[in-house]
Symmetry: D2
Subunit: 347 residues, 4 copies
């Protein structure tokens, strides 16, 4: 299989490296209008071919698959062009600028019988796969809340705010773990420096008592990457800054009974063991690339397919609208955020 | 000076202990309708007098000051009775159930020329005093945001939700540090077990680009007590779970310039030194008691006086109203949240 | 039962408090030549009796048991006097200044049929009890090494060096966990300020491949209290500075085979789960007092009896001798460090 | 300048990568008898030349400098051959198997007027450079002790024990920071699996009250990389596992006066601020390579020259001898451990 990577900025070379290591890939073509970037790619990778012209790649019948790692604004145009020419497509997150674009891409992929996959890399980490397993197996019990903090100093993005940059990860992880579709989104944020939010709080509302909340922040003195998933049987903390023991599973919780007329609640706190499962520690992007290739070969649906990618975009879009409306609760259409059941990855 | 402590549940004995150690206090009277609690008090403290009858205390002309450590529902009634009888009053946080009650108590204190102080203990910690000093001195620069997390497993309260229980601390610290009055409050929460929220997110909006946000949670597997104050010159993290170095001050931030038509922002990240100042480590409640007695003796205004206590109640009340209105942004009246400038404590 | 506490400095009041809470104890008598200390005791505890005269206590036939919390130099004289008068005796660690004294006390206790127990408080903690259980049950596998670090800033002691002060804890924990008797001790240390070592490294040698090592330090910028017990099946880290999860049990290790002539070892690293068991969190000294009283009542042998206390002294004495001999390996007599099998405490 | 790298196992490719990025280097030749390794090198680096024959490299007059990254057993033979042929030599740590070999290499380098440098990479880290600066500037005050812990699970080495593997780092850092020459070394260790020690404690004795101690361990459940340097004015903790704030400088210490006949010491504990300086975070090996090339060009003496490398070997050799003699204190010859004053690197 021949694959082309469009965009050789920050993420593109990582895709190239992983495609080069993938046995099913016969050749990798790197494409970027910036010759300087192509030069860097050539210096770093021996067997990659390069071209500055996108059209050359899109029109090359030998190219079976295309990976798009350009700025978000170009995702729609490039992905639709590639799908129309019968290429399989892997797009960086987020899939598109809005649900309309995402829906169109999704329809194109269906119509052309081609794989459309979004590179929500975090889904492919050991930690998120284990979290998913804990939810599916019932070990977590009934999910009660999802709280994430994704903060550090920078990188301020010139074209998207902190929600489109960082909350895209949390939205994907949330949608992967919790199959119940979100009902609405509210968000508040603040722009300290220019006209894009650099700090924001996003709440994802459900029709149940489940609640999700993301704190995303480009202006934090320390780097934080924490997700807490609270469940009725177990609570799990995923701290991505830990070098080992990224996942800690707590057998803690409460049992509460309160009777009419009693002032005192009858509360039992359960404080059992904590454990940290061993995680295999494979690079997530290697799995992304492998999953993409496998889906192309077998016709299997990617865990982060177009529907999934659109659901993420739907949440971000709603958050953006809420920001613009003083934090108002913005409903999300069930059709946009209901994904086909996403399974565990076969590792 | 003779002081009476009303309510000998969880916090009352701490007040008794500190009053007993205060040289200006000649006698401490403990009052609680529950004889069992009085018995525990007598076993623990040798020189305390006890009585089950509140009226005995209120009508005793020798009692100059009263500390109220009862459930919140009784604060208003007891504090107003005490003030009417010419007693100085120290009330546990929050001052009252609503701003109307708080306003009334405040007026009573003014009319009777008596001290009304709220025991917002956190204001009296080394860490918050140091934070205040960093703000006043300009070391922090322009305050940009306040983010707090106050989470642990329990204690579920039977009479108030997690906002009135935990966010009362954050509201007090915020109001003490930031003199700009808040403009509005929004809040979302969830009730997993009974009809009071056990997890909530509260946002405090300002007319400037400053933003404050509290995450309060009774259902967390681990205990977290963290406040991050971001400023244009310094960012400070106050982690109350640290045994030493509770306060870390980071010389970190960004300088951003962006020109029309440029895709790239010109961003300079500043990553200078972090330092942890030594903190004297005196018990905060000892300072509360000392400050109360000093204010009585000198007529000085407490840093957490009735106005301050009402401002905290105003924020909690607005958060409560927002909860009941789907997270809507609830304005707070400037008159309620504008406090007289609160100085540093003289340590 | 009437108990007297001799010595009301730092630790004495803790003993008094725990004896007062013990249902089997009818009265507690505090004894200290320093009237100021007695005054503090009287202010703090309502029902304690006090006397400045040791002889009054020793000669009082109503006093059945004596707890000795004086400087180490007085342990021998007071304990032997008490045992001769038929009292049961609880002595602070270390039992005595040398094995000769310890042997004499031990013989006196046997001859008089009285309980002699040493307050090695750490043995009574949740963490050490759990460690012991992990060793006994075989979960740890064959013990391979014991490494401890006990460091902080101060308290410099005027009468004993850092080994007699801090390594006494590690020696007790080691002897409790590992039944194999130590063979020899070596130690190096340094005196930065006056003629007692403030930093020392102690190695406990065995006839097997097991090795134990203590780092004890009064001159550390941070407080450290860590023990690592490496075993063939599990490795355990006990970090006493953690507020929760003091004990972490790692399913980690190696399996190694090497064949003659092969340059490469065949090494398999096992990196399984880590877990932190829940610990009940009872005050250890409460258990010390309860165990002492139970042993008196039932005639049961204390887990830290005279033999055990002497074994600790034997290790410290050998360490001291090694210090004085340039770090030479000093054998310890098997008879001194072989203790009767010490069981788990019945909690 | 043309440089050849002998040995393409674990470390060799890192040297190749850094030489390739060095502007002064015109060509890099990789040499390893193992064709498989050469193949990996060719796949990874585009512009490297490869050869399996050492003699080809040694006899190539175009090759000006040689870096040796083979097993320790080959260092002497290869380095002496290279020096004899007038090449400049960079050798992996440790320089040689014994001081005799090291002395010979050193003499050869002097006789041929060639640079002999040892790749003690840690000296070139931000953290160690900053530590050195703190010592030189007097900020640390009089150095009091050096305590290091270097522990993790594996990698068990087939040819050298844990001291030659891990303590080589600590010895180099110690010798770089403390100019006072060590007087003696003692060491204890244990072999749990095969005939090389996997856990060891090494003490470096001085004629002053300064003391250094290393704990090196291949059998630890967690990875630890900590050095504490205690000084009379400041104490510094270097924790290499921290992602930021690797260096923490504590303004803590004690002032002690004790008078004859007084039981109480007069001790003042100083607990001032802690601060973490910003560190530039350049790859240390890049600096190693740059320093090597600069020394070749300018004739400047490397900070880790042959004398320095021999001093490290002298400490390891003494430690080894102590291991074989039951932990006896082995004197080290002053001539071997007295290095020319090692300056700060010019960064």
């Amino acid at each position: 299989m021949v694959v082309a990577v469009l965009g050789c900025g920050y993420w593109g070379p990582n895709l190239i490296r992983n495609f080069l290591q993938c046995p099913e890939i016969e050749a990798v073509i790197a494409c970027d209008p910036d010759e300087h970037r192509l030069d860097l790619v050539r210096r770093r990778f021996r067997w990659v071919r390069t071209t500055p012209r996108t059209s050359a790649v899109l029109n090359d019948p030998a190219v079976e698959a295309i990976a798009i790692a350009t700025p978000v604004a170009l995702h729609y145009e490039l992905a639709s062009a590639a799908l129309r020419r019968g290429k399989h497509v892997l797009v960086e997150k987020p899939l598109a600028r809005c649900t309309a674009e995402a829906s169109h891409l999704l329809a194109l992929a269906e119509a052309n019988g081609r794989i459309l996959m979004v590179d929500h890399t975090f889904l492919f980490t050991d930690a998120v796969q284990k979290l998913k397993e804990l939810v599916i197996s019932g070990e977590v019990g009934e999910p009660l809340y999802f709280d994430s903090v994704r903060a550090n100093l920078g990188l301020f993005q010139p074209d998207v705010n902190v929600i489109w940059d960082l909350a895209a990860h949390d939205a994907a992880i949330l949608l992967y773990l919790i199959e119940e579709p979100p009902a609405a989104v509210s968000a508040v944020g603040v722009r300290h420096y220019y006209d894009l939010e650099n700090l924001a709080y996003v709440t994802i509302h459900y029709d149940t008592t489940f609640l999700a909340h993301f704190h995303v922040n480009w202006l934090s003195p320390v780097k934080l990457r924490t997700i807490c998933l609270g469940g009725s049987r177990r609570m799990v903390i995923y701290d991505d800054m830990e070098t080992s023991e990224k996942l800690r599973i707590y057998d803690r919780g409460v049992d509460i009974s309160s009777k009419e007329g009693e002032e005192q609640l009858r509360v039992q706190y359960r404080a059992g063991q904590m454990y940290a499962p061993p995680l295999p520690n494979q690079e997530a992007l290697t799995r992304v690339v492998h999953h993409f290739v496998t889906c192309i070969r077998t016709g299997q649906r990617p865990i982060s397919d177009g529907f999934f990618g659109r659901a993420v975009v739907a949440l971000l879009e709603a958050a953006q609208r809420s920001l613009a409306n003083g934090g108002q609760r913005i409903p999300v259409a069930a059709e946009y955020v209901t994904c086909p059941t996403t399974p565990l990855l076969e590792l």
